[in-house]
Amino acid sequence: MDMRELIERLTSRHKLGAPIFQRPDLTFVDLTDNDRLRALLVELRDIEGFTHLVLLTAVDWIEEGKFQLTYMLNNRAANQTLGLRVYLERKDPVEFTSIHDIWPTAETYQRELREMFGINFPGSPRVMDEFILEGWTDMPPYRRDFDTLAYSQQTYRDRPGRATNDPRDHMKSKMYPEG
């Protein structure tokens, strides 16, 4: 079955954006109606055979003021992967619907997103628990307005004498000292 047919079928019932057919077995598509996400996911899981949630990840589009969530779904029988993308408004607090009841593994991804991007998923188990960081009090570090270098310099002492070189220039000067 071609993924185009799938997208056509889905488009007839859901508001989808323009699909990107990256590979024959990999397609990304935007969902423009966030409220329909769960319905779509359940349909994909139960009817279309996308039984596996490969990952759930986020991109911080700070310029557009949006967070993009990507739900990567996999249909093992047909060897197809569908990346379903939704966009959230980038304003605090960011919240989105939890899908831990559709795929229990989502629980872990949502914890990570809560910790690293500050996107909350109310109702998701243990979503407020620490995931990787311990005792983190600052803003979520994967947001693009978090300056990791500045943070590191304000937190950890540098050892004097450390120099930074551009690798290309450095190697050039090392290997061809004459120029």
Binding site: G135, T137, T148, L149, Y156
Partner: protein, 230 residues
Amino acid sequence: MKDMDKSFRKDTETEFPLREEMRPRTVTAPDGQVIEIDPLRDYFCEEAPKVHRKSYSAIVEGFYNWARANSLWILGFGTGCGAIEMRPLMTPRFDAYRYGIQWRPTPRQANLLIISGYLSVKTLKRAIRAYEQMQQPKFVVGLGSCTINGGMYWDSYNTIKRLDDYLPVDLYIAGCMPRPEALLAGLMELKKIIRRGEAEGANKYAENFDWYKANQKSVIKDWDMPDYSW
């Protein structure tokens, strides 16, 4: 450093709350009495570390140092990529055993803590605990440039840059990553330091305890253990 944002201000106000299991609580004893439990006080020893003198006789101390140098028991605790570099020392190719070096699975019986690579804040907490649970005299070796100045993690938000801010390092072995030969050479160097009686990191740690603790607590926000983990 060119793209650093000078206006970025990190959050220094927020306090991290004590973890639930460490908060004082009340329980009902079998006889109906309600008793207060303060886990940090009741379950952990609160003593500060002591400075332990050398032996009165220089000859005895020298003899002891010879023994210490020739019986280095490494704590099997690997961080970062250096953990991979330590293993070959056990193999026939390098065979560190012939120098009296061996690995012990528990800090109680080990004398040498090798920080074998970058230390995230989270791991630092464990490293400190493991170090403090070792018995004196004890030695610390920093392996690789990450422990020296942060190395390739120089701009990471959760990796420390200078190990000696937090633990008394006796010896650094430079490189990214140093090969087992370098590690072996470093250990030989450490043996010399110990033979000279200069490896008194534990006493240094005890003497500058407040300084070390201040450094440690400045990066470990969720400090939920006693100041010294016996």
